[in-house]
Symmetry: C2
């Protein structure tokens, strides 16, 4: 957040400020930054790269990060927050399906030999498809190259360090902060309300704006807590116990 604080101070005078960050570790969720900046009245365009997990459109090998793009913009009653990875699904979802023994949808992934697979366990060592065919691939590739151009980060299969604890992380992050026009907020807010009120194709699925689903899930989680699969819950308790034992704090390791 130091970069965001610094950019927020500069942008009042300059109208735009950019942070190009290299050799930093996984930054978590871009949405968090986008929401924070927009809630404070500015616009954020942010992107970051990752280990190569996504194959180019029409290719057999993972060559791109899941390269998410986030855009945060002031609006009422909530800031507008887009945060989307450029893979059709996340590697986390593929691991989750593999751990539950569930199949993938066709077109989501290739195995390690570059052949399409619906077997999640085989996809874990393969490649995820880009979202949206050639266009989504184009976007993901543009973000990979953009981040390298601005930060000097590594590209494609040369990126490492967010998925292991040994390598120095050599991916890059880019934050572009812009001062928005306060006078645009009412028109933007009305427009987003119009979007949510559009007649839906399926009566049971109202039209949403990006971030609506996440916001609802967050509110539910604050209220009801988060349900973890028992296996994951046990694994977390086991790790906590091991950590406490290692630190000599065995008193809390018995949960």
């Amino acid at each position: 957040m130091n970069a965001i604080t610094e950019l927020s101070q500069r942008v009042a005078a300059t109208g735009v400020a950019v942070a190009s960050i290299s050799n930093s570790n996984h930054l978590g969720r871009l949405a968090w930054y986008a929401e924070h900046v927009a809630a404070n009245g500015n616009v954020l365009i942010a992107t970051t790269t990752s280990e190569a997990l996504v194959h180019p459109w029409g290719g057999r090998v993972a060559m791109l990060g899941t390269n998410p793009l986030a855009i945060g913009i002031p609006a009422e009653p909530h800031p507008f927050v887009l945060d989307m990875a450029t893979g059709v699904v996340s590697m986390g979802l593929i691991h989750d399906r593999a751990s539950r023994g569930q199949k993938l949808q066709e077109g989501w992934a290739l195995d390690a030999d570059g052949f399409p697979t619906v077997d999640a366990a085989r996809a874990v060592t393969g490649a995820i498809a880009p979202f949206g065919g050639a266009k989504g691939y184009g976007l993901g590739l543009a973000l990979e190259v953009l981040v390298a151009a601005l930060t000097g980060s590594a590209l494609g299969r040369h990126v490492h360090g967010t998925l292991d604890e040994e390598s120095v992380c050599n991916k890059g992050d880019v934050f572009i902060l812009l001062s928005g026009s306060n006078s645009a907020v009412p028109a933007i807010s009305s427009y987003l309300a119009e979007i949510r009120a559009v007649a839906p194709l399926h009566a049971s699925a109202p039209v949403q704006a990006p971030g609506d689903g996440s916001r609802a899930r967050r509110e539910r989680a604050y209220r009801d807590g988060i349900a973890l699969p028992e296996r994951l819950s046990m694994e977390l308790l086991r790790l906590a116990a091991a950590r406490h034992a290692k630190e000599g704090d065995v008193s809390q390791g018995s949960a």
Copy 2:
């Protein structure tokens, strides 16, 4: 191009410069600007809005422009140029199919009543689907709102003026020019070469980088000319003749 020239001069000192443009007309192809900026050693992120032609994901009515995103980045032997609209196809393609009596693919469009259609003539008055499902919709919507936040442009169904000659154009354009790092060009160029060399899923379709197809078509057109459908060719000659007659230059109106 005045904005691009101005931004290019400023960016040498500031590292980033932004043009937010309102009340200007259709700017043609964003790729042209992206290629120009990248060929001169800088990075361009550019977007623009249009009349509402694209429906929100899961909705029945056109509420978004085709909102293209372009990203240009210095690379060898060609600049990297992405220029993609956020509709699954262009309205131009739907008009073209309608004029040829050809069907659309399922999922491309809705008719004026908000029902899915493969009849191009009915889709002309309806809505185009966003590319890439919910993610492509999210991107298109983010660009619509981003442009409004920075330029004060109209939004959604309030945008007019690029498809008619009567209204003042109230869409917006945003150009973000950044100074790239020259030292990143070799790594980016190698990476793009690696991408193009990835084993293809189908032997007859090598992996491409964004812009490769357009560049090849442009080179072919310079060499062989452009083949127009006869009907369009006749229509252009008719318009040219009418224009010449109106200007009193009937000598060139007989072609």
